[in-house]
Subunit: 336 residues, 2 copies
């Protein structure tokens, strides 16, 4: 393992995920030399803390990646397409959190617990969609044991999945309610306080919305199982942070809930939260801030012996974004 420090750039450093990448680099004691924070001209000039330094945010530009070893991109797909080539040209490893390159067959889409070996020598690595990452890390160990045939998943997605402003909108709507005022709805198409609604991405030709289609395609790519049937319903709920997912899995081979529980108890990236007697199962308020995904409510579904249901809560800003991105970088430097 390398002991040298790496110069890091974070494109989109002031966004919800960008801030988390900074925090995770600190939390993990990542060997950082320079920490270069990049954002739009609007945010340039702001300062952010990294460890004991005050770092001034610079404008994201093609020339901003000189001497950078690892560039994290979390400024949206358009900016990734525009500026990732410059970062690659500077010789940096690019870990892209946007959807820009995820389905590019040339670009590895990586969850280190699942398919680290697919990173190969690629200097551009795509970081999966939040729901896909949280689901994949929980069901992969079971797929290895009994081969998934079909996954039915309903999500309970928090406001922060739509960015820091969306989280503020939920807080503001709740404060308006408490004050007896009319809540304002600007970021989301509908009130999020005291409501749930179908994920606010466009509905595609096939009837599934973009979030649902991403989840399907990305898990299929990460697992290298293009034939795996996944039926998602993506729903927003008035939670600030951490996504939850109710999952039913049909396997090709026999797998009981108790076998699945045993497998998940020692699975990487998973914390089993499955106290049946105490009625304690995964919840977003407990999964928030955790690197691991919480998994529980394991039960046999039907009498075939080949179907298991479970419930997941995972921090979509961490395993669903920043932590998975930093984990990709950690995996890379172990090989560097």
């Amino acid at each position: 393992m390398s002991v040298r420090n790496f110069n890091i750039a974070i494109a989109g450093a002031t966004g919800a995920v960008g801030q988390e990448i900074v925090a995770v680099l600190e939390r993990r004691g990542f060997p950082v030399g320079e920490c270069r924070l990049l954002a739009s001209s609007r945010s340039a000039g702001k300062t952010m803390r990294f460890r004991d330094q005050e770092v001034t945010v610079q404008e994201l530009s093609a020339s901003a990646f000189k001497d950078i070893d690892i560039a994290f991109f979390s400024a949206g797909a358009t900016r990734s397409r525009e500026f990732a080539p410059a970062a690659l040209e500077s010789g940096a490893l690019v870990v892209d959190n946007s959807s820009a390159f995820r389905m590019d067959p040339e670009v590895p889409l990586i969850i280190p617990e699942v398919n680290a070996e697919q990173m190969g020598d690629s200097m551009l690595i795509a970081n999966p969609n939040c729901c896909a990452a949280i689901l994949a890390v929980a069901i992969w160990p079971l797929h290895q044991k009994a081969t998934l045939k079909r996954v039915v998943v309903s999500t309970y997605q928090s406001a922060s999945g739509a960015g820091a402003q969306a989280m503020e909108e939920l807080k503001d709507q709740v404060k308006a309610f408490a004050a007896g005022e009319e809540p304002k709805t600007e970021i989301f198409p509908y009130p999020i306080a005291f409501n749930v609604f179908s994920h606010n991405s466009a509905v595609a030709e096939n009837g599934f919305n973009d979030e649902e289609n991403k989840l399907v395609q990305e898990v299929q790519k990460i697992f290298s199982t293009p034939e795996l049937e996944i039926v998602p319903t993506c729903i927003r709920v008035p939670v600030l942070r951490a996504h939850s997912e109710a999952v039913l899995m049909d396997f090709a081979e026999t797998l009981s809930a108790s076998e699945a529980r045993e497998i998940l108890a020692s699975a990487p990236g998973v914390t089993l939260v499955d106290d049946v007697e105490g009625g304690h199962f995964p919840m977003p308020i407990e999964a928030a801030g955790e690197l691991d995904v919480h998994v529980g409510r394991l039960r046999d579904a039907g009498s075939s012996g080949r179907s298991v249901a479970l419930f997941i809560s995972g921090d979509q800003l961490l395993k669903g974004a920043a932590w998975n991105a930093v984990q990709i970088a950690e995996t890379w430097i172990r090989k560097a």
Copy 2:
């Protein structure tokens, strides 16, 4: 159809569902003679409005059903078991909203849109669990067309499903958040504001909790399909009123999403809310207060041509409780 008035008793009149029964009787112009409101000794002496009368709440007792034609019970299973026999002995039709008699093979469990004919001559009719009622009314017309083989359902259940106090707890927690105070958790086992959690009923031997098992058994009974496989996950969400459900249906015969949409557009008890271009689908804030169940997000799941997914929001205090109970009484008086 009878034109005479009926003397009504409501056991549990001061509870969340009891109050809704009073409101629905008014809203429907139900032919009410006397409206006798019954509750525990704690609530006896309170007054409630019915139409332009002020009605004093009386204590629920075996002698409280004299001259009553229709008795609605919504005071919990224990009280139903204790006092329903007295109401029946007085000659009243008993519509019981508790779980006391639902699975009794002698007692019809009725959703008027689905199995009104099973009421027969029974003077004791059970009203289904809220999630079961909302699901059943939406999927029954599709079952009639293509025969359901399997239903996978994840719920998004509002606080008021646990009673009026639970709804107040959610409001109080949100107000505490707005005031920067520590929220109190007394009714639910965990904070409900900004959180979701597995339904707070006990987990049974089979790994499913009581709410989930009710949903399965009651839909099987209502549809007269004991072999229908139903895999539920029941989850509480911080919504005040109206439950939602993400549903995947596998059919024995071919059924497309567009055929299902056409069937549901004219199905009794269903309002189709499925504006794909406008991104407008069922939401609890819109379904709250509605007698109909809102259904949308219809889409073909997989390539078999026999699987359809949809999303439902329905007012669990109305179709999931008070409205279905009054609807049973309306069906009964049409025959009386």
